[in-house]
């Protein structure tokens, strides 16, 4: 990790701890800032893990309620981002394990949630093809074992580093490396079979 990266991380941690401190002192704006920073990430994670827009919205609400209740105890031992992802992953696991497995293929009926594409400048045909490809990948992703799906989602969709993923999942980096590789391998095999 370079000097600039370390100082950026320290600055980010300071900001995170300050937010928690403000929340502890009753500053309601602190939570609003946290929400604005992480809403999209949490919603996407919940969507990828649950496979359903409505359920993702419910999960996001519950996750942020937990964040609100416990933000005051955030001590800065990790970044706020990994701390929130850890809460989110644990909550999704808990809720989804006792509720129901994925029943609706990802990408169907976006409902109230809106869909954005990686490159909105592409034309309608290209967007349609991309949407179709995206749907195939999403369906494949939904079929992965949850441990592999979590690792692949955190890495390839949320862009976390291996170290951050290890922190979020509470496992060693070697395990993260293995889960990502096996998840990608299984996903590739699934997509090849389908195509």
């Amino acid at each position: 990790m370079g000097v600039a990266t370390v100082s950026t991380l320290i600055h980010s941690l300071d900001v995170d701890v300050e937010l928690a401190e403000r929340h502890r002192c009753g500053d309601t704006q602190a939570f609003n800032e946290v929400y604005a920073r992480f809403e999209e990430m949490v919603y996407n994670l919940a969507f990828r893990l649950s496979g359903n827009y409505e359920e993702a919205a419910d999960l996001t609400q519950e996750i942020f309620l937990r964040v609100y209740r416990h933000l005051g105890s955030f001590g800065g031992r990790s970044t706020l981002k990994t701390w929130i992802f850890r809460i989110a992953i644990n909550h999704c696991r808990d809720r989804l394990s006792r509720w129901r497995p994925l029943t609706q293929p990802l990408g169907d009926d976006p409902g109230e949630g809106e869909v954005t594409y990686a490159d909105p400048s592409r034309g309608p045909e290209e967007l349609a093809v991309a949407a179709d490809e995206g749907r195939r990948v999403a369906e494949g992703l939904a079929r992965l074992p949850s441990a592999f799906r979590e690792a692949v989602v955190l890495r390839d969709i949320e862009g976390l580093s291996y170290e951050e993923i290890a922190e979020v999942l509470g496992v060693r980096i070697g395990t993260v490396r293995s889960r990502i590789a096996r998840g990608r391998d299984q996903l590739r095999a699934l997509l090849e079979i389908r195509s």
Partner: protein
């Protein structure tokens, strides 16, 4: 490196999550191995496809709903709340309830055994200085307790010609106060039950405002 690269190595190579030396080693292998190059390219295509997948944008009213939830149920766990929850868990949490009941039972049994082992406290022995008060108030016996400890929150003993607060038997009063004087009235308004001792004309010596004061009717 003669053997083909493992999936794990290829995956970590794509993410650049390996050390410099290993990276160099894998690069050398990939230069020489078309099979692994093909697998690497396939892995890269997959990663690009995943990363290009649509991102779901939260519904517009989600922020409002979350904030409403927070207002309704987002009670922050303060220290007071944690303590309350702890005691509540002692009663309602099935896993803790049994332990609580056992603990409570143990404490009660221990308390009972301790109580049994302590000898009974003997009744207070009234020494020579502690007189049994049986003065009269007009024709009516006052019915004061054996000691006058309840008067003015102090215990008084009869010294032959006056009531003296216990512990001041050998002290000479620092001041003498008449009941009719402002100081005397102030003492009575504060300790009205002193009148029980003063009614028959007795004097009362007591500690008052860091001094020893003798109070009398006249």
């Amino acid at each position: 490196m003669k053997r083909h690269l493992s999936t794990e190595q290829l995956s970590s190579f794509v993410d650049a999550e390996i050390g410099h030396a290993e990276m160099r080693e894998l690069e050398l292998h990939l230069e020489a191995c078309p099979y692994c190059r093909s697998r690497l390219s396939s892995m890269r295509r997959l990663v690009v496809e995943i990363r290009q997948m649509e991102r779901a944008t939260p519904p517009r009213d989600l922020a409002y709903q979350v904030k409403a939830q927070v207002v309704a149920h987002g009670e922050v766990r303060t220290l007071e709340r944690r303590v309350r929850d702890f005691f509540r868990s002692l009663v309602f949490d099935p896993s803790v309830r049994a332990a609580t009941a056992m603990g409570l039972g143990t404490v009660m049994v221990a308390g009972f055994l301790l109580w049994q082992s302590v000898p009974p406290v003997p009744p207070p022995h009234h020494g020579a200085n502690v007189l049994k008060v049986s003065t009269t108030f007009g024709e009516t016996p006052l019915g004061l307790p054996e000691t006058t400890s309840e008067v003015a929150g102090r215990e008084f003993v009869w010294s032959g010609d006056r009531w003296v607060q216990k512990g001041l038997e050998w002290r000479q009063p620092d001041a003498r106060v008449m009941l009719a004087s402002p100081e005397g009235q102030a003492m009575i308004s504060r300790h009205a039950d002193l009148m029980l001792l003063l009614t028959d004309g007795s004097r009362v010596v007591m500690r008052y405002r860091l001094g020893t004061v003798e109070l009398s009717k006249g």
